[in-house]
Symmetry: C2
Subunit: 368 residues, 2 copies
């Protein structure tokens, strides 16, 4: 059972003080090359590894960032986590992940606290809770960057997709292909993301002079299974939709298999969130693609900058999205309406404004 090697052991062997070893380990100035070499020698000889927990205690924060997501098993969050982890690793930071679980948004504050007591240097949170006032105190010490959704009851850095514009584009795409009865499939309305996408859906309908049939709006599906049932009900209705805007991946993972297994591949679909194999189905699924990798990296970079300047104003970063036409979103309604037409490639891109934001990558919008 080899004893732990501490800084002091190295100091004794190199015949210097612990402080000097500390200087060498941290690459600090003011150490003679001779001394440095002797210490290095002792370090390798003993195989010394600094105890980062001790360092964290002394400096008051761990070189770790916390990441809070809904579920790690969800491919969107998995890819987000992956990119955050990579960005952190490049800065020598470790990542602690915690998932909240999609049924219990209240757990969010507990999960966050379990990270705070471990003295994480900063947090990246994909919010689920209704209110984030509970973070007000902690943020003085521990910066937080929100991703995917805006926090409520608090002003903070955030990295977002323009859900409203994306929802509008998805719905507009279906309208442009001649659809008049378009269903909206979404999860809980208390989720701001869902609300924004739904608002985009309604705005597209309004802009095209279509009236919204509330019976075509199915929200509240918390799992793929529930989404499947909800979709089943929509399609079995009296005047079923000819197209569906599925507003997140879970919904799509319920809807699409349903359409395939019931042979209803005539129903047009646009899915918010790309998902694996979406391009291998027949028809391949048209999606709004927003790169979780881009979001994750942007959030990490924002957090790193924030760690260096705790007092800067809160900033919102908008990351780009695009519509990827693959077939399912370009199906015409049965019978057609004569208004259907081929779209030019450019029309599937975000509007000028969004593209502009997208390519600049950053929007310095300060919220009051």
């Amino acid at each position: 059972m080899p004893e732990r090697v501490t800084l002091r052991d190295v100091a004794v062997l190199a015949d210097v003080s612990a402080k000097t070893v500390s200087r060498v380990v941290n690459g600090a100035d003011h150490v003679t090359p001779t001394t440095r070499a002797r210490v290095q020698q002792a370090i390798t000889e003993l195989g010394f590894q600094p105890n980062l927990v001790a360092r964290s205690l002394r400096v008051g924060r761990a070189d770790v960032i916390g990441l809070v997501v809904e579920s790690l098993a969800d491919p969107f969050f998995a890819r987000l986590t992956s990119s955050v982890e990579q960005a952190a690793h490049e800065r020598g930071l470790a990542v602690m992940v915690s998932s909240v679980g999609n049924q219990v948004p209240e757990r969010e504050s507990l999960v966050v606290e379990s990270l705070l007591v471990r003295q994480v240097a900063g947090l990246i949170v994909a919010p689920m809770a209704q209110d984030h006032g509970y973070l007000a105190g902690a943020r003085q010490r521990t910066p937080v960057v929100f991703v995917d959704r805006l926090p409520e009851g608090i002003v903070s850095d955030a990295v977002l997709v323009d859900d409203l514009a994306a929802g509008e584009m998805a719905t507009g795409h279906l309208i442009d292909h001649g659809h008049r009865r378009i269903a909206f499939l979404g999860s809980e309305l208390r989720n701001p993301t869902t609300r924004l996408r739904l608002a985009g859906y309604r705005r597209a309908l309004a802009r095209h002079g279509l009236d919204a049939d509330e019976s075509l709006v199915a929200v509240g599906a918390g799992s793929a299974g529930e989404a499947r049932s909800a979709a089943e009900q929509l399609l079995g209705g009296e005047r079923p939709p000819t197209a569906v805007f599925s507003s997140n991946m879970r919904c799509s993972l319920g809807l699409v298999p349903l359409l395939h297994s019931s042979g209803r591949t005539d129903v047009a679909v646009v899915s918010f969130d790309d998902f694996p194999m979406a391009d291998s189905l027949v028809p391949a699924v048209t999606v709004i693609d927003h790169d979780p990798e881009v979001i994750g990296r942007a959030a990490a970079e924002r957090l790193f900058r924030r760690l260096e300047d705790l007092d800067a104003a809160a900033e919102t970063v908008i990351v780009p999205f695009r519509l990827v036409p693959r077939g399912s979103g370009e199906l015409s309604p049965p019978g057609g309406t004569g208004r259907d037409r081929e779209l030019g490639q450019d029309e599937v891109l975000a509007t000028d404004r969004e593209q502009d934001m997208a390519h600049h990558g950053v929007e310095g919008g300060r919220r009051p």
Copy 2:
């Protein structure tokens, strides 16, 4: 800027010693209900939260476990991570994740060390490196449970799927459906998992008296893109296979879209690893399913037990797998061979031995 509240602050307010507060916080015995109440009162009044970093320093280990995987973006590892995180959370442990990246197995030891210096209580590692001797010293202090693959050059706890048996079953399934020219698609051979699955493939061929055509074995595909090219080459060969055993998800994510986009849905496929949408394709993809959730939880449970008994003998846990027939694996070869037949449901299950292990969930196999 609110000062941090420490145990000492609570002690002063409650007019007791720091030690007593510590006792209350940790639910230790020997504290009068009265005192306890007074301390509790002070704790809530001040909103005290213990500093787990300080505790970790004192007790010599953090209440954190480290998880090392190849890539968090890979759905298999994402689900594994998710289940490990859940199990850890139930025990009040946090999880630090690190990914190695699939191109640089050498990075594994670096990643592991970055966790060790943070004093993680234990590690769960999906090994990529060739040799794990580098862990020999650390394991004295920090237990390690390997998942998915056996470590090399070291004896340790491990949670595995019986890759050999699974490879044999997948290949046997295709043979049973009349195929005689079956290709093997896999990643690097230095990966023991690939080697075992390939061995299973060969054993199935041998058992059925088929000779192995080495031109049908394509290994080395490290990404879906490479797998796609490899598959393209296999199918474009002189005597192309009528069936493919794709030995992991990355390969399947290259192969399956290729088959679909080139209209070659007549080629039979069995995929090792289930993947999203596999059941919505036409034909749906027959897979060997081994639950990453089960593996993750088993590994976590093993690690927890190990944390309580550092000296117990190394144990290998074998988790169950099953073949899920969905269509792609049951296609007959063009022209058929007359030997094709319908399979009874029971035949798609693992052999008695594996099922037995599976349901017991644990195999106490000690390795010398």
